[in-house]
């Protein structure tokens, strides 16, 4: 099971340059809206054509600009779950699910019935898409693209059309249902949570270009690149100057960090995830390294945590540099010992060194 | 802004009214001639320019259509000074309604009824009665076109009207009939000799036999409501002059 994608396509305002490989795992494409994610899927599906490059699925060449191969979408055996599901409104649930099957009437009915049971759609066979709920529509759409056992299943922002309170439940359901499918899964989303939850590998794209790809958990933990850090949700990023292999001056925050790990020469930014800071009391703060004495600018209350907007007390003239964000569990914050001042320590493994 | 617009509109209105009245001044040297379609070519091309040369101060406006339509228009009060129809019928009808000036009717011209075919025609037609050999025939609608009335009259007297009327395409004016034959769409057609003379795309097969059709008289008369009866008379006199007669004959008319 493998998918190789290496394509270029000129688009309005930017050019798409995507390259990645998968090996049977679920892979996600993460990027902002308009960064070219949907176009990438459409190129793989064959409904759009890249300007150059190649797309190979399980050893079968779907597209190769040099060899002038460009298979019609009908011949690519790919399943594509559209963002708005694209269910045929004039066909019943049954007819929608079975439409891709080239079998006799009886065989088709049998397979469709199987799917209906597996996807918990009993009783809805003769209903039309506008008569069923959003979650049911999604299951029908998913059943429709799995039933003919495609080599690759692509999901385009599968959860963005759903109400947020349903998302959780539906995400679990879909995860279960996907177990019924044997092949590659490629998912596109702008939601970090979804990608993190579903995909073992991730491709991060920014303005049409692949920024990074690899193991999801690893990339989220250590984004390595500035743009990757932003896309994976790191809120605290500052310019930096490398002073020595183990110390670096964090320009925007006015502190010097000392690191256990060696700092590569080409590091230009330092990042820290908002959840990773450690609160210290005054006594300990004096002895530890990599501690900031903070001036709190604002505290924003969320449902289960506080977001503390702060800056280094020592810095004056911020000149438009953003606050440091510290996200902390409400209980933890309310029960803190040191209430006079705020001392935050940056643990060594929380320091993100970014190119 | 609104005030300026209003002022502008008032000025325009005044000008148009003034313009109208100054038109009546000009009306005194313009006459409107309503004539049958078959007279268009000889009037527009030669005779009217000739008249204008002789009388540069008299302007002539013309309108051409089937005599029946013109009759209707005059009945409805159209501003016409001189009426030239292609048959006595329309002139008489207007005269009976008192719409023609006393004693102004002159039986000016005579036109012949002829059978024509397209010059590319392959069918062998030599007599008027050979019209039966044609598959498609074009004639004017007898109910509204004088040329059509004459055609019906001639064919009836020859005993072939019933048969012909079954396959005839009825034109609403004689020019339409002529064009149908010129294009070859109709194998044969019945028009005036003047029509046949006006285009090289058709040739005359035969005239309607002597006695089979009443004479086609083209009368001219002055409409009673005309404000320019003197000028109208000048025009009619001109049409009866020798030089005018020569022109008419060159176009296929016979003059009295």
């Amino acid at each position: 099971m493998s998918l190789i994608v290496d394509i270029k396509k000129k688009m309005k305002g930017f050019s798409l340059e995507i390259a990645f490989k998968t090996d049977g795992e679920y892979i996600g494409i993460l990027g902002a809206s308009g960064s070219g994610k949907s176009m990438t899927l459409k190129c793989i599906a064959g409904v759009e054509t890249p300007d150059e490059g190649q797309i190979v699925l399980n050893g079968k060449v779907l597209f190769d600009s040099e060899k002038r191969i460009n298979l019609k979408p009908q011949d690519r055996n790919i399943g594509f779950l559209f963002q708005n599901y694209a269910l045929f409104p004039h066909m019943t649930v049954e007819e929608n699910i079975g439409i891709a099957l080239k079998l006799s009437k009886e065989e088709r009915k049998q397979k469709v019935d199987e799917m209906i049971r597996a996807f918990h759609l009993q009783g809805l066979e003769n209903k039309y898409p506008n008569q069923i709920s959003g979650g049911q529509q999604q299951r029908v759409a998913l059943a429709r693209c799995i039933i003919y056992k495609p080599d690759l299943l692509m999901l385009d922002e599968p959860f963005s059309a759903l109400d947020s309170h349903l998302k959780d439940q539906l995400q679990n359901e879909v995860l279960d249902l996907l177990k019924l499918y044997d092949g590659e899964v490629l998912m596109v989303s702008h939601s970090r949570d979804e990608i993190y939850r579903f995909c073992e590998k991730v491709v991060i794209i920014d303005k049409g270009k692949t920024v990074l790809y690899g193991d999801t958990k690893q990339i989220f933990k250590q984004p390595k690149l500035y743009t990757a850090a932003i896309i994976t949700g790191c809120k605290n990023i500052s310019r930096c100057e490398v002073l020595s292999p183990h110390s670096v001056y964090v320009v925007d925050w006015g502190i010097i960090l000392e690191t256990e790990k060696e700092i590569p020469q080409n590091i230009k930014y330092i990042g820290v995830h908002a959840h990773e800071f450690q609160m210290l009391d005054k006594a300990l703060a004096k002895d530890e390294k990599n501690v900031i004495k903070c001036r709190i600018n604002r505290i924003v209350e969320g449902v289960s945590e506080f977001t503390v907007h702060l800056e280094n007390e020592k810095t004056e003239n911020k000149n438009g540099i953003a606050d440091i964000l510290y996200k902390v569990n409400k209980d933890q914050w309310n029960n803190r010992e040191e209430k006079e001042s705020l001392y935050l320590r940056i643990p060594d493994d929380a320091i993100l060194m970014l190119e | 802004m609104k005030k300026t617009l209003c002022l502008l509109m008032i000025i325009c209105l005044v000008f148009s009214l003034v313009g109208c009245s100054s038109n009546t001044a000009a009306d005194e040297s313009t006459i409107t001639v309503a004539a049958a379609a078959s007279l268009k070519n000889c009037l527009d091309d030669i005779l009217i320019p000739m008249f204008q040369e002789k009388y540069p101060n008299i302007k002539i406006k013309t309108t051409y259509d089937s005599s029946g339509k013109l009759q209707t228009q005059i009945e409805e009060g159209a501003d016409v000074d001189v009426f030239m129809s292609a048959a006595m019928k329309q002139m008489n009808a207007l005269d009976e309604k008192g719409l023609i000036a006393e004693d102004s009717i002159v039986q000016l011209l005579e036109n012949k009824i002829v059978l024509i075919v397209s010059t590319n025609n392959t069918k062998d037609l030599s007599k008027f009665e050979d019209v039966l050999k044609a598959d498609t025939i074009a004639i004017g609608d007898p109910e509204s076109v004088p040329a059509g009335q004459y055609a019906k009259e001639a064919l009836t007297n020859l005993g072939i009207w019933e048969e012909i009327s079954r396959k005839a395409s009825l034109g609403t004016n004689v020019t339409e009939v002529l064009n149908w034959v010129a294009e070859g769409s109709a194998d044969a057609g019945i028009v005036y000799s003047t029509d046949a003379a006006s285009t090289e795309k058709v040739k005359v097969v035969a005239e309607a036999p002597e006695g089979s059709v009443s004479k086609v008289i083209y009368p001219v008369g002055i409409v009673k409501t005309s404000k320019n009866q003197d000028l109208a008379k000048k025009f009619i006199d001109f049409l009866q002059s020798d030089e005018a007669k020569e022109i008419f004959e060159s176009f296929g008319f016979a003059t009295n």
């Binding site: 979408p73 594509f80 004039h90 439409i99 693209c145 003919y148 | 590319n120 009825l170 070859g184």
Partner: protein, 223 residues
């Protein structure tokens, strides 16, 4: 009033709508599926032309093609013995040419309003382009297409200028309702003309009512 013009008009309009319907859908599909934007624009202009040109101009153009003294017409007559002008067929041709743009534009607009995602989904599901057109595009575009058909029928029914030129005005053969009305008015038979006009008004009204019915018809699967 004679019944012949009514019958001829209904025959002509019916034959014309069958041809126009098929032609309009076929051509609209062709243009919609075309890849080159420039070609689309040029073709669209050509196919819309009869709508904006006066019918007499269309009649003139048809005459140049079909007239027996013109190249094509001459060929047809000499080698195939076919003379189209002044035949009932000519009334149908005039009606088809005049009403075609209406059908084409309605069909094209209806096809383009079908959600493109549905077409893409159908392709990825393996449906052939033909199957997609007949089982997805057409059913969803049907109200627009049917509405266009009805309008085209009415337009073909009312065709006059081009018909007179190429089909002539032959009683019981090519005298359609519009031609009959015009003749009767020219002859001063207002009563007869009025009777014909009422028939035309009636048919037109039914046509408009049907168009509205179709475009507003509730279909189960749409909210």
């Amino acid at each position: 009033m004679q019944i012949s013009p009514i019958i001829i008009s209904m025959k002509t309009a019916s034959a014309a709508i069958v041809l126009t319907f098929m032609l309009g859908i076929f051509v609209a599909r062709w243009v919609v599926e075309m890849k080159s934007e420039r070609a689309k624009m040029v073709l669209d202009g050509i196919f819309t032309l009869p709508l904006v040109l006066p019918p007499t101009v269309m009649g003139f153009l048809l005459l140049i093609v079909l007239g027996v003294n013109r190249p094509v017409g001459k060929f047809l007559l000499q080698f195939l013995g076919i003379k189209i002008v002044f035949s009932w067929t000519a009334t149908v041709i005039a009606a088809v040419v005049i009403s075609f743009p209406l059908m084409y534009r309605s069909a094209r607009s209806a096809f383009e309003q079908v959600d493109p995602n549905l077409i893409m989904a159908a392709k990825t599901l393996g449906l052939s382009d033909n199957r997609i057109f007949w089982t997805i595009t057409m059913p969803l575009a049907l109200p627009g297409v049917a509405g266009g058909g009805i309008l085209a029928f009415a337009r073909g029914l009312g065709e006059f200028g081009a018909t007179a030129m190429i089909a002539g005005n032959i009683a019981n053969e090519t005298r359609t309702l519009p031609l009959a009305i015009y003749s009767e008015v020219a002859a001063g038979n207002m009563q007869t003309a009025s009777s014909y006009v009422i028939i035309v008004l009636l048919i037109s009204f039914i046509v408009v009512a049907l168009t509205n019915y179709f475009s507003m018809k509730e279909r189960k699967y749409l909210k």
